[in-house]
Symmetry: C2
Subunit: 362 residues, 2 copies
């Protein structure tokens, strides 16, 4: 019996999401190196093993330590290397096959000097998201990094890595595919230009929207989607999944009803859902989609409203007309999160629809 | 030596914030029942003891359990009572003086039937925030609740409680004071109307903005500000504190610099700061104010830029002109959070500027 905000996980939906992506990678002969920042759970990571996944992506040194302790021997930290943590990086590299990401000569020089164990190196390439990385068109600067890496003994150049995060801002699936194609063209141009010196150069490609939509990963060596393990309303809104592919929902107790303004209050707020917000084409925005919760499952075919606002512990549900007087304090509802990664990070654990508790990194 | 995102706490600033509010409450002869949802820390709660604070506010049953286990004997859960947790409420009430908040006849009837220990009851009054509570003008419905409570044996009516959360949306300190005055007038009107039946009725008043600005709490019995223990950029922006009153900053390592677009990347993102955002009068918005970090302290007189965007682990700093080439990977900076409650909730612990580690509720 759920009595407080609980992140409920449908393992079967989750396994289907993993299987679909694993089969797609297999069919394309690319490595699936899933990003584990979404679930942050040793137990869920083991579910990937059944689909022949034996390497993963993480977003921090801490997360790499956690998954290394839980049996993962091949990890890429897909975040610009934090040189202040060189000791932890060195220690990890002593025990597993560790890859890190760099984008400047000073970081390369520092790490080559400090590290005592070999570390795989990806150069982060910015293919248009403009968050991190070397500009894909800046062949000269990238060549400089490669020249430096060519003389390194601890830093072993592996290839180029991008994250086409601008797919999240796309307005159509066509736009997502176009971003994907442009990004891959940029990576390929680099590879072509530089391959003489580095014939084994790998291309590692990220982001759930394009990996979900596309069935063709020709020219890539690996893909690193993460969010697909759970999906969420952000992906539903991008048409990169159906609402029935969402594997998690926050189950919340109703604590007050306000039929006069067509609202109700649930225990489930910013410290459960996060403040990630979805802005709809009509300009409205919300913090989650509220659905009925019956038979121990959230019901995607019974949308009752949206989360209009969140405070630290409160969620305010704006109810659709037909549900204004349906609910009472003590009832439970489900909320499909806008961004499942941040919701999972806040909830620090799952309950499966079969009643199993699943732990996460703390 | 800080090597990863760390929530640094200046204990002296924090103590001064507590002292100022405690003295103000004392001068006004009102009880200070501080809201502990901001710090969520047993150790920080003990700092209040030196200022003769012996009761507190919390926002969930879980938080009440934590502070009860840590020596607090008088707690109000200032959140609409979640009847699914009646067993935990009953158990708490067996050990401490527990107050809860109700706003409907069905919750009152349910709890009166189930509870075996007496619980203090506040009726939540909506004085204009429109989030939870009975409309302050709806005397008739409030009278109905009181009639029901008059016959309860376990639910002991104490008084009315409001949270003037709409002060956070005010555009001037005058507007905040005006909201405060209107809210208190509404509570007073209720009290006047109903005092014949309940001569000992208490008025409990919330929110940091008005409790920080006002020096006059005539007519109230207690105040429940919370955020003032740390303050943050939201409060600075409301002019309810100065930037030097902010007691916490997220210290972050720089991992990449992009002088061409006047940006740099830090390890410190949505899972550290939260996605709470401040929209400035000119329409710009940001996720935190970036300042220099030297001599083991953030420097409020050296603002270097703002946090333009956050992803799960990344913070993108938009740098002010004079700092475009100042920083390098491996340097540390401070970020003054928009909303210290959510930042603390995510960081799950503090490091004081004197080097002490402080734990929080997990």
């Amino acid at each position: 019996m759920i009595t407080q905000p609980t992140l409920l996980l449908d393992k079967q939906i989750c396994l289907a999401n993993i299987e679909r992506m694993a089969e797609k990678a297999h069919a394309n002969n690319v490595i699936l190196r899933p990003h584990f920042k979404t679930h942050q759970s040793a137990e869920i990571s083991h579910w990937f093993r059944d689909f022949n996944v034996d390497c993963a992506t993480v977003s921090s040194v801490k997360m790499a330590q956690y998954f290394a302790q839980n049996g993962w021997k091949d990890l890429t930290i897909a975040f610009p290397a934090n040189i202040l943590q060189w000791r932890e990086i060195d220690q990890l590299a002593a025990g597993i096959n560790l890859n890190i990401v760099v984008e400047s000569t000073e970081v390369i020089s520092f790490l080559e000097k400090q590290l005592t164990h070999p570390v795989g190196i990806y150069i982060k390439i910015d293919t248009g998201y403009n968050r991190t990385g070397m500009e894909a068109e800046d062949f000269e600067s990238i060549q400089q990094l490669l020249n430096l890496l060519a003389n390194c003994k601890k830093l072993i150049f592996i290839g180029f890595l991008n994250h086409a995060g601008h797919t999240y801002e796309a307005h159509s699936t066509e736009e997502i595919m176009s971003i994907k194609n442009q990004s891959i063209q940029k990576l390929l141009a680099l590879k072509t230009f530089l391959k003489a010196g580095f014939p084994l150069m790998q291309l590692s490609y990220g982001d759930t929207p394009s990996c979900s939509l596309s069935n063709n990963f020709t020219d890539l060596d690996e893909i690193r989607p993460g969010n697909f393990v759970f999906y969420d309303e952000m992906q539903t809104n991008l048409d990169t999944c159906s609402r029935n592919d969402i594997a998690v929902a926050l189950i919340c107790p109703i604590v007050a009803t306000h039929p006069k303004r067509q609202e109700m209050v649930v225990h489930g707020g910013a410290i459960h859902l996060s403040k990630d917000r979805l802005t709809l084409p009509n300009g409205d925005s919300h913090y989650g989609v509220a659905v009925k919760f019956t038979d121990n499952h959230w019901q995607t075919n019974e949308v009752i409203g949206t989360v209009k606002s969140v405070s630290q512990e409160h969620g305010i549900i704006k109810l659709n007309d037909e549900y204004i007087t349906t609910f009472h304090p003590g009832d439970l509802i489900g909320i499909l999160p806008i961004h499942s990664c941040l919701t999972a990070n806040l909830m620090k654990g799952y309950l499966t629809t079969e009643g199993e508790k699943i732990e996460m990194m703390v």
